[in-house]
């Protein structure tokens, strides 16, 4: 036990050291003038840009704008997909009804929705939410249908044997039984939701991390581009960690 913990700490040190090492190489490489800062700025320049933008108060505006859009679009998509997916997963008949529609929607990348959404909704927040929604809904639905199907049928038999109605079975067995799989699926979908919003912001937006990158490109502010990309990574990491912490609270029975 103690040994394992010690090992984990050792690996953490190795990771930190490798990070510092790569940053140093990058920094030295740029400082020695091998490459123009307009193509690849040194890490120190990116940090400087970050400090400047924090001072101006513009940095978090972009982070918050993108995060809000992802969260709203993703929440709405999940709130519709979870009950709908459980329903479709437990009824073959209804699945047959919706199968053609889902099959057509699923292969569409979220990017392909951008033109029509701009036409219908204009450059608005609703348009951004709709892109996240369209990009994550169909795949989420499929994850949830699969999760629902994956439940051990003996648990459904046991519940019915104890007097559960069809509705009881859905609420008491299928939903909690599929929840670990659903959450695993939603975690993947959250990453996809981020790609949706960044592409939407790259095309048409006035704020957000995608806009930040695209706008910086116009002015050859390469350091801002890298800063924007770094912020996308960091935001997704923070949300992923938060998700993992909540997961243990929602699924206490899966904890060791």
């Amino acid at each position: 036990m103690k040994d394992k913990k010690g090992k984990g700490l050792l690996y953490a040190y190795i990771s930190v050291a490798s990070f510092v090492f790569f940053m140093l190489i990058w920094e030295i490489f740029c400082r020695l003038g091998f490459i123009e800062p307009i193509f690849l700025p040194a890490p120190s320049l990116i940090v400087l840009r970050a400090v400047k933008m924090v001072d101006q108060g513009t940095l978090f505006v972009h982070v918050l704008a993108s995060t809000r859009r992802v969260m709203v679009g993703f929440m709405v998509s999940s709130l519709v997909a979870i009950p709908f997916g459980i329903f479709l997963g437990s009824s073959r008949k209804f699945k047959a009804v919706f199968d053609p529609l889902i099959s057509l929607l699923r292969p569409l990348p979220s990017m392909s929705w951008i033109p029509i959404s701009l036409l219908w909704l204009g450059i608005t927040e609703t348009q951004k939410y709709s892109i996240v929604f369209m990009g994550s809904f169909a795949p989420s639905l499929l994850y949830i249908i699969e999760a629902t199907r994956g439940i051990d049928p003996i648990l459904i038999s046991a519940a019915q044997n104890l007097g559960a109605s069809r509705w009881d079975v859905m609420r008491e067995v299928i939903l909690p039984g599929a929840l670990p799989q659903i959450i695993a699926g939603l975690k993947v979908m959250l990453g996809i939701a981020w790609t949706c919003i960044i592409s939407a912001e790259l095309v048409a937006a006035e704020e957000g991390l995608g806009f930040l990158i695209m706008n910086a490109k116009e002015y050859f502010q390469t350091d801002t581009i890298f800063l924007g990309m770094l912020l996308i990574s960091l935001t997704v990491i923070v949300i992923d960690v938060t998700f993992r912490m909540i997961e243990g609270k929602i699924l206490p029975w899966t904890r060791d």
Binding site: D152, I154, L155, S157, A158, A159, Q160, N161, L162, G163, A164, S165, D168, E172, V173, P176, G177, L179, L251, P252, W253
Partner: protein, 268 residues
């Protein structure tokens, strides 16, 4: 109309057949099976694997319908899953996301019994199977034997008229099995539920039953139906008596013939 003019028959199985269609043709799992069971009997059904024992139990519980024939529970035909038959599965079938307490309360919750009453009843049965102190554990943290005890408590708390046990102890080690057999025997003495218990262990059948049915190889019918009149409690001295040996030999002869027959069928 008074259903009780004839002495109460808890379960009536009338000419029940079950056929499973498969790619290689129909498989007749049960053929024209009939028997009746009066209240408070501990029936153990013994048979080689594949003789249709589990099929029979699933039919009585209402999970599947017979291809022909009828099954009655207290004079009423079984047409769907009924909570009056509490089923105990070999694989425990506990809800992994519920604590021991919530698993045992499940049937009561389905009956919309208020929380407080529910928790009192559940506590009583958790106590009965000796799991006090584990109320808040999740099934994952329990051993196989403990899981099966939770499953028994869960079925009992729902107060079914009949308990159906499908090889409940088959996956447990020998010592745990013996402890659970004794516990089940005590529960039977106390609650006098009608029980149908499936096993392929002759010793288990002799230890627990008041009646034994031995099934033939597929298609399953009754090969032998006998009363187990061994005295209670069925302790070591009973298990070493001549009477026990005689019964065991008698059953073994029938079972052996059926096992050989089923092996010939498989070899064809």
């Amino acid at each position: 109309m008074d259903q009780r003019l004839t002495p109460a028959q808890e379960i009536e199985v009338q000419d029940v057949s079950k056929v499973f269609p498969t790619k290689e043709g129909d498989v007749v799992a049960l053929k024209d099976l009939s028997f009746s069971l009066s209240e408070g009997v501990f029936l153990v059904i013994v048979g080689a694997s594949g003789c249709g024992k589990s099929t029979l139990l699933n039919l009585i519980a209402g999970f599947t319908r017979p291809t022909s024939g009828k099954i009655f529970l207290r004079g009423e035909e079984v047409t769907g899953v009924t909570p009056q038959c509490g089923m105990i599965f070999q694989q425990y079938a506990l809800f992994p996301w519920k604590t021991v307490q919530d698993n045992v309360e499940f049937g009561l919750k389905m009956k919309r019994i208020p929380k407080k009453e529910r928790s009192e009843i559940a506590a009583e049965f958790i106590d009965l199977v000796g799991l006090r102190g584990f109320e808040n554990s999740y099934p994952k943290a329990l051993s196989g034997g403990m899981k099966q005890r939770v499953s028994i408590a869960r079925a009992l708390a729902n107060d079914p008229e009949v308990m159906l046990l499908d090889e409940p102890f088959a996956a447990l080690d020998a010592m745990t099995r013996q402890v659970l057999q004794e516990q089940l025997a005590r529960i039977y003495e106390k609650h006098k539920k009608t029980i149908i218990f499936i096993t392929h262990s002759i010793d288990e059948a002799l230890l627990l039953s008041s009646r034994i049915i031995i099934m033939t190889a597929r298609p399953g019918t009754i090969a032998q139906d006998l009363v187990n009149d061994l005295p209670y409690p069925r302790n070591a001295s009973v298990q070493l008596s001549d009477h026990y040996t005689r019964l065991k030999k008698d059953i073994w002869n029938t079972v052996q013939a059926e096992v050989l027959k089923s092996m010939e069928v498989e070899a064809d």
